[in-house]
Symmetry: C2
Subunit: 250 residues, 2 copies
């Protein structure tokens, strides 16, 4: 049996947001490797071994997946959202680069998924309809000073911004500082979207002006999207629609 590794995105939560390509890989797998809550989304079946591990052990998990594949297993590494956006694909490739020489010759595929910022944006309209950036607000793996620098430059560039991991348990004050920087740098009431657990039964969305955004509106299951200076809200009888126009006047 020839082993392989597929690093796949399960999307934000709903079954109907998983691509058929990923469903097919899951059906062919002998082993599923991933963080506990993501592995819990995979239905057990005969011939499939589930390997669930805790958070913050991404490199150990990656090496485990590569080792299994080098022994002939068909391994699916599961991420939520898209595996290439603040998820497992970079971790597995880091393990490849620094690991056993024969891991480089493994069949390694990355299968894309619906990442949280796209799912959240879609729920409220099209806040990412113009140029935007995506920033991981966790400072576990990078200095906070770099996050601050990027926030200020992104505001100056007038990007809409999508924030992953806005509030870590270990450093809850980071998001508060991020909001203060944006309130100062942007100086307006542009919309901020808090999308929690999008497409799951726990889904919750709130839209507030930047001037009213508060850190406790987000937790680790929340995607935060901050509009650009051009982002607009359409009021109507139901939930409002938020979009960033395609055009910027000269």
């Amino acid at each position: 049996m020839t082993g392989w590794v597929a690093i796949v995105g399960l999307g934000p939560g709903a079954e109907n947001l998983i691509t058929p390509e990923v469903t097919q890989a899951l059906a062919e797998a002998t082993d599923i490797v991933g963080y506990i809550p993501y592995v819990a989304r995979i239905a057990p079946r005969d011939g499939l071994t589930l390997h669930a591990s805790d958070n913050r052990v991404e490199l150990d998990r990656s090496r485990h997946a590569l080792e299994l594949a080098s022994l002939g297993a068909r391994v699916v590494v599961v991420s939520s959202g898209d595996p290439g956006v603040f998820a497992m694909a970079a971790a597995v490739l880091e393990a490849v680069e620094n690991g056993a020489a024969d891991w480089r010759d493994l069949d390694i595929r990355v299968l894309p998924g619906i990442t949280a910022m796209l799912a959240t944006a879609a729920r409220v309209g099209a806040p990412l309809g113009h140029d935007f950036c995506a920033i991981n607000l966790s400072d576990n793996l990078k200095p906070w000073s770099l996050i601050e620098k990027r926030l200020r430059l992104a505001a100056e560039a007038d990007f809409a911004m999508a924030f992953y991991n806005p509030r870590s348990k270990s450093r809850p004050e980071g998001f508060e500082r991020a909001l203060m920087i944006l309130q100062e740098a942007c100086g307006d009431a542009r919309p901020v979207i808090f999308g929690r657990a999008i497409s799951t039964p726990e889904e919750h969305i709130s839209i507030v002006p930047l001037t009213d955004a508060r850190p406790e509106m987000a937790d680790m299951r929340t995607m935060v999207i901050v509009g650009s200076s051009q982002t607009r809200i359409i009021k109507r009888s139901g939930a409002p629609l938020v979009y960033t126009p395609r055009s910027v006047a000269p």
Copy 2:
């Protein structure tokens, strides 16, 4: 019959990258509205009317979709990739905001899809595995000076960058200028990925150092991803893997 509008993403091209949610909406539709090559991806069937229109008529197309829905049709507006990323969702919402008052009360949904940058990134590894930005390089709807400003600020922020519409027919020199700005601002040989028609039979990928990137390597079907200063290439017997590590040293 109660009409609705669903603005959906068909993904980059392959059938197995279309979400089941989108497939379901297509199955329920009475009318499909979109740009000619995207409507051509929809299989005709009894009870389904296909309305294909040319490029650059996004607002007319949006108003047509809203008008059909207000008359009771179940309308799917098709985009490639994700409808919220440089695609039809923002155009439809602009038409809603500036259109007939009763359009605001229509059932309007945006259904996400696999956008080109995620599909291209997945094909080569994880070049968007750390903070990144997405910029539409077409200056049809915004001044070129704003694009230049964003390129310089994105380089200063050390974002990986994904470029949509790198080379328009009407302004082919824009991408050449963009590359010159990046070569000057970044001053290194970081990888640039040209992903053309990803997941289709015409798929073509090339990876070159920024110093060797040339404008003719892209056309309108190409997604261009420029790595950050941290992006790495893993050489191996097959196609190389490209990833941006999760960590930045303090």
